[in-house]
Structure formats: C-alpha cells, structure tokens
Symmetry: C2
C-alpha cells in the first residue's frame, strides 16, 4: 500500500529534480537511482524513462558521468553532481517547495472529507 501508481504528469513534474537530488546525495548509477526512487515513494521508473533523464541532466551540465566495470554484471555508468547541479538542485527544490504550498492552498483541506 506504499505505492498508488503516481500519475505521469506528476512524475513529469519532479523526476528530473528527484533524480538530481538522489545523485547529489551520493554518486550512483541509473539502476540504483531507479530503486531509490521506488523506495522513496515515486513509482517504478522504467529504464526508457530514467536513463534519458540522466542523460539530459548531464547534457545540461548538472551531472558528469564515468563508466566503470560492473562487479557482477554489466558495466555501470556512474553519475556525480557538478557545482552547477548542486546549485540548480537547491534553487529548484526551494521553488518546488513554495509551489506545492501554493497549489495545496487552492485544494480542499485534506482533513475535511465531505
């Protein structure tokens, strides 16, 4: 019951930000990010969705990548956050926070189940 399949528009809104946040926490690779996101309450993000996000973030200069041999399995593309990435993360997550508060203000009070 931890998982009520997040609507795609909602995912669309936070995916890049969430991915950036996860990588900023610790240098990791795509597959691990997917598991982290699922554990974090966003749904099961498929490869065809996640990897393009990582590559876009890299193209924007917010992440850097390096290829490393896999311990038991294929090679892994590790991503690390850049200074610009950390900066963008902070600014955008602050903006996200105020946005969700404003949006929540328009919605009905969740405590009153009319």
């Amino acid at each position: 019951m931890t998982e009520d399949d997040v609507p795609t528009e909602w995912l669309r809104a936070v995916l890049p930000l969430a991915v950036l946040a996860v990588v900023a926490e610790e240098e990791t690779y795509g597959y691990a990010v997917a598991q982290r996101l699922q554990a974090g309450g966003l749904g099961a993000v498929k490869g065809g969705t996640l990897y393009p996000v990582l590559n876009r973030l890299e193209a924007e200069g917010l992440l850097t990548s390096s290829w490393r041999e896999g311990v038991g399995g294929p090679g892994r593309k590790f991503f690390a956050v850049t200074a610009a990435g950390r900066d963008s993360l902070d600014r955008r997550s602050a903006a996200w926070h105020t946005f969700t508060e404003r949006a929540g203000g328009l919605l009905p009070d969740p405590r009153s189940t009319r």
Copy 2:
C-alpha cells in the same frame, strides 16, 4: 515577488486539479478561474491553455456547463462541479498531498542552504 513563473511541467501536474478545485469552491466561468489561479500563486494561465482544461473536465463528467448572457461583455460559459467531480477532487487532492510529501522527502532540506 509573488510570482516566479511556474515551470510548465509543474503547471501540467496540477492544472486540472486546481481548476476543478476552484470551480468546486464556487460556480464560475473560465476567465474568472484564470484570475483566481493567478491570485493563488500559479502563473498567468492563458486562454489557449485554460479552456481546453475546462472542456476536458466536462468531457470526463466532472463538470457541467451552461451559457449565460454577459452583464457587460460577451456571454459566459459557467461551470459547476458534479458529484463525480467532487469525488474525484477529494481523492486526487489527497493523493496529491501524499505525493508532494514523498517527493519533498527525497529533496534536500530547504532549511540548509549549502
């Protein structure tokens, strides 16, 4: 400073829900909804964006519409929420609430400006 132009992906995530919420508060017409949204902190929603949303909500059976003569100006298409609409609003806004909490949990703590 009340308005830092909301990214389109963010708007995309909440627009239908926010519009539904506004109409559920009080029976209104499109143009007034736009002003209400702007006052609520989402940006200036253009006609070409807003009206299709209203029409989709009506097509989904969450709103009903009726045409009325304008007092000083063109006629107005008034929208009212249906029972299904109110139900959908409650369920989806509750889901939105838990979603934003989860997403916020992945993001860096806004109080630490590193």
